[in-house]
């Protein structure tokens, strides 16, 4: 008997909880989208757009690695129904899924630094890349990045290469990393468009990077 009472109480509580949404809020929400029935100083369509933009940004940031658990504003990731929160039926734990959304660690330690080059003398690695392999480079017989490639683009290509590329040891402390960026990033020596980048890292210094 006590169990039945608890069940009925629960049903009533559930009805009460959803009641405003089922019977009254629907029209209010519809009204709120009309400037005639919603005289307030806050534009709900604009607000909705802002929220949607934030949501889209979050989705873009995680690039499909997981789904937002509790809608806009949440950074908890699960593989369940979008907006479903950490409900039963979702796979794995929160910790596991958050890890999936993070980029892989770099396979080797490497950083941009200054070096002395035969062409151009002392300059940083990124300066060398644009001096010799930039879209406007005047050098012949070298690979070149596509027109419009920015420093950030090259930095991202190199970072991805260090995380996901194929690393070939090249003597003590030296590595050559090859990585397919998945889109055309420039042309090789022959002038044929390519999506691959090669990065030379002797002793932890990113010496050069170019399409190949």
């Amino acid at each position: 008997m006590g169990g039945a009472a608890s069940f009925l109480d629960g049903v009533q509580a559930t009805r009460d909880y959803f009641a405003p949404y089922e019977y009254t809020q629907g029209q209010r929400v519809a009204d709120s989208f009309s400037s005639q029935t919603y005289p307030g100083d806050v534009n709900p369509i604009k607000d909705y757009g802002t929220t949607a933009a934030k949501y889209a940004l979050q989705v873009a940031l995680i690039k499909g690695a997981g789904k937002l658990a509790a809608g806009p504003g949440s950074s908890v990731l699960v593989e369940g129904v979008p907006g479903g929160g950490i409900a039963s039926g979702t796979k794995g734990t929160v910790g596991e899924n958050v890890i999936k959304a993070l980029p892989a660690p770099r396979q080797i330690d490497a950083s941009w630094s200054a070096s002395s080059y035969k062409k151009g003398g002392v300059m940083t690695g990124i300066e060398h890349v644009f001096y010799r392999h930039g879209p406007g480079s005047g050098f012949a017989n070298v690979s070149k990045f596509s027109k419009g490639t920015s420093v950030n683009d090259v930095s991202t290509f190199v970072d991805n290469a260090l995380r996901y590329g194929k690393i070939t040891p090249s003597g003590p402390g030296g590595h050559v990393i090859e990585y397919d960026a998945g889109k055309v990033i420039g042309v090789g020596i022959s002038g044929i468009p390519t999506s691959k980048i090669k990065v030379n890292v002797p002793n932890g210094v990113i010496l050069t990077a170019f399409p190949y």
Partner: protein, 86 residues
């Protein structure tokens, strides 16, 4: 400088490809057609290659980070065989 291995090994492994072979073959063909072609120099992504037809040698040089041991001289005929330019 790309560490490790001889300069020639590193050139072959990390630089030499079909497009570079084509460029080098073109220089060798020029020399075949005219004895007035005395030398040809190329600077690729990481290495420079200088063909000295008078001396009969090829200098392969690490051009990224030059130092004392940044080049090697190889007889042209050996270079042709090693790089499969025939």
């Amino acid at each position: 400088m790309i560490s490790g291995g001889t300069i020639m090994e590193r050139f072959i492994i990390h630089e030499l490809d079909d497009s570079i072979r084509s460029i080098l073959r073109g220089a060798l063909d020029e020399r075949k057609l005219s004895r007035s072609v005395l030398c040809r120099e190329f600077e690729f992504n990481c290495f420079g290659v200088a063909l000295d037809f008078e001396k009969g040698i090829v200098r392969v040089q690490d051009i990224l980070c030059p130092g004392e041991d940044d080049f090697i001289d190889v007889p042209i005929q050996d270079f042709i065989v090693i790089c499969a330019l025939e």
